[in-house]
C-alpha cells in the first residue's frame, strides 16, 4: 500500500474550505503566507482495495528521502483517507515565499502499518513571486488534467483585485461559477470539484475555464473523465 501519484497541483492557494467529501467547495481569502495545494490519489488498504486509515504528510525546505522522512515537518491537517482511487488534497498554508519546498507522504492501514514513502513533490518558490519579491500575475493550467474528481488552478495577484472564474461546456453554456469576488494581493487557488452550480457531477468531456484577474484574462481547458 502506498500513497500514489502525489502531485503538487498549485503554486499558491489562499485558504480553502474543505467539504466532507474531501473536495474543495469554496475559497476564502487569507493573508497567512503562501499556501500550497497537495493532491494525490488515495491508496487502498490492501493494494487498490478498501481505504487507508491515516496519512502522514511531510514537508521540508530540503529534499525528503525515505531515510529522513521523519525529520521533515509533519502537516497535522491531513484529511481522512477516502476510498482507493479518490482524488484527495490538502492545503498547507503559510509557507515562506520565494522558497523551495518538498512534500512527501505515507499512509497507514487500520493495523498501524505504514506504507513506503510516496514520490516527492517539489514546489519552487519562483512560481509565486519574482526575484524582487513582488507577486507575478499568473493563472496556472489545471491539475490534474484530465481530471476525474477535481481540478485545481493556482493564481497570483500582484495587487488586490477582482477574481472571476467560470467554467463552460463546449457549447458555450456556463456550468459553474468558481469565483466571483474581490481577493487580496498574493497567491491563491481555485479548486473545482467538477460539478455544476447545482452540485451535479458533470458529464465526461471537454470544458473551458475562463478566468479574469483584474484586467487580465486567461482561458484553460479541462478534460473531465468518468
Amino acid at each position: 500500500m502506498s500513497a500514489r501519484r502525489l502531485g503538487l497541483v498549485a503554486a499558491a492557494i489562499t485558504g480553502i474550505v474543505l467539504g466532507t467529501s474531501g473536495v474543495a467547495l469554496a475559497a476564502t481569502s487569507s493573508t497567512q503566507g503562501v499556501p500550497i495545494a497537495l493532491l494525490w490519489t488515495s491508496p487502498g488498504d490492501d493494494g487498490d482495495e478498501g481505504r487507508a486509515t491515516d496519512y502522514d504528510i511531510r514537508y521540508s525546505r530540503y529534499p525528503i528521502t525515505d531515510k529522513n522522512f521523519n525529520l521533515a515537518y509533519r502537516y497535522r491537517g491531513a484529511p481522512t483517507p477516502q476510498v482507493a482511487g479518490s482524488l484527495q488534497f490538502c492545503i498547507i498554508s503559510g509557507l515562506l515565499p520565494n522558497t523551495d519546498y518538498y512534500f512527501a507522504m505515507k499512509s497507514a492501514d487500520e493495523a498501524g502499518n505504514w506504507s513506503g514513502m510516496s514520490n516527492v513533490a517539489v514546489h519552487t518558490g519562483e512560481l509565486l513571486a519574482a526575484g524582487d519579491g513582488h507577486v507575478r500575475l499568473m493563472f496556472s493550467s489545471p491539475f490534474p488534467n484530465p481530471a476525474r474528481a477535481a481540478a485545481s488552478f493556482a493564481y497570483a495577484l500582484p495587487a488586490q483585485g477582482r477574481v472571476s472564474v467560470e467554467a463552460f461546456d463546449v457549447g458555450g453554456r456556463k456550468v459553474r461559477t468558481l469565483a466571483s469576488e474581490e481577493r487580496p494581493a498574493g497567491p491563491g487557488a481555485i479548486v473545482w470539484d467538477l460539478t455544476d452550480d447545482a452540485g451535479r457531477p458533470l458529464q465526461a468531456g471537454l470544458y473551458l475555464v475562463s478566468a479574469r484577474l483584474g484586467e487580465a484574462s486567461f482561458l484553460r481547458r479541462v478534460m473531465v473523465v468518468r
Partner: protein
Amino acid sequence: MRRIAALTIASLLACMVDSALAQRTAEQPPPARPLPVQAPLVGPTLPDSASLARDSSATDSAAAARDSSAAAAIPVPPDYLAEVRSNFTPENRKYASTHVALDFIEPLFGLLVGVLLLFSGLSARMRDIAHAFGPTRYVRVLVYLALYMAVVFVLTLPLSWYRGFALEHQYGLSNEGLGGWFTDELKSQALNLAFVGVLPILSLGYAAIAKSPRRWWLWLAAATVPVIVIGTLLQPILFDPAFNKFTPLHDQQLRAKIVRLAQRAGIPGRNVYEVNRSAQTKKFNAYVNGFGASQRIVLWDTTLKGMREDEILVVMGHEMGHYVLHHIWKSMALSAALAFALSFFIYLSVRAAVARFGGRWGFREPHDVASLPLFAVVIGIASLVTQPLVAGVSRAVEHEADMFALEITHDNDAAARVFIKFGAQNKSDPEPSELVKAMLYDHPPLIERVRFALECHPWTEGKPGRFYRGGR
C-alpha cells in the same frame, strides 16, 4: 513624609526583585547577589532568546551566506535535535557545569559575607566611621554605603573575577582585557552608589524605618513600584550606555526587513539598536528593555555577525514578542507583587534578628544603617526562595516570545538554527536537570526550544496564531 522616606528603602526590595528579573540568560544567570547594592541596576530586561553558542561550522556558514537560499544547499532536512545535543561537547559541558556551580555558590557566599560583616562587628565600625562625617542621615548613609560597597566588592572580587573574567577567557568567550573588565566592575559599583546612595533612596528608606517602626514594610513595598519604574525607564538611556556604545542598526538592508517585521508586529521599528558587545564577549544575545519612550530592542553586534539574516529576523521576532505582549510591564507588575509579598517577611525577619542578635552586632534598631548587611542577607534569602517562581514565570514569558517569533516569521528552520547557535556559542546545557532548570533557567532549555521550533506550525493548517494574528 513617611511615604517619601519609604520610597527609598524600597530600593532595597527593588534591587532584590530586579536582580531576580533582570537580564539573565539560561547559560549565565547573573549571580543572585545577596547584597542589594551589588545587585545590577538593570531593569527587568527580557533577554533574548539567547543563550547560545555556535559551533565554528555554523558560524562560518553564517558569515558566508546571509541569504536564505544558502539553506537549499543542504541536501537533507537537518536533524536539529541531534545537532543541538552534539554541539554540547565535553568542553561546553564543563563550562556549563562550572557556571551552574557558581550560580549556587555565589548567592550563598553573598549571604556569608553579610553574616561576616554583622558578627565581626565590621558593620558597626563602618557605621561609627560614617557617623563621624556629620549628623545628617543622608551623609551617614552615603558614607556607610560607600564603605560597605567597597568591603563587599573586595571580599567578592575573587569570585567575580573568576566568573566574569577568568572563566570566560579560559573557554575563549571573552574579548575583554583585565583592565577593561575591572573598569566595568568599578563603573557598576559607581552607578549603584549613585543610584541608591547619592540619590537619597537608601537614606529615605532608613528614615521611613525610623519614623514608622511598625509599618515601614508597607511603605517599602509601595515605594518599590516607582523605584522599579524609574530604574527600568533609565536603564537603556542612562546605565547601559556607560558600558557600551549603542547605535541605530547599520545594515540598511537588514534594517528595512526588521522595520517591515516591526510594522507587521505593530511596533515602532525605529527603536532597534545594535550594541558593541564584541568589546567584551563572543557570546550572542539580544534583548528588549526600557519602557515607554525608552523602550528599545537591542541586538548584540556578535549576534549580527554570527547569524544569517533569516535567523536575525527570528531573534527580532522573539524580542518584538516581548514588546507586543507587554512583557516588560508584566515583569514590573510581578516585581511589585513580589515586593508586597516579601516585604512583610523581611520586616518580621529583620525585627526578630535585631532583637536576637542586635547586641552582638552593635545596633539595636533596624533604622541603624549598620543593619544594611542584615537587610542584604534577608533579601538574599527571600530571593533564593522565590527564584524558582521568578524563573518559572520568566520561562513562560520567553516561551510566549518564541511562539510569537514563529507565528510572525513562519520560519521553523531559522528558529531551530537560532537556538542551536545560541546554545553552541554560549556553551549552554541544552538538557539541564529539573533542579537546575527550576532554579536557574529563565529561558526554556534549548532542547525544548528547538523541539518547539520544529513542532509549532499551526499556520500550515490555516489556524490563527495564538499571539500574532496578522499576515505573513
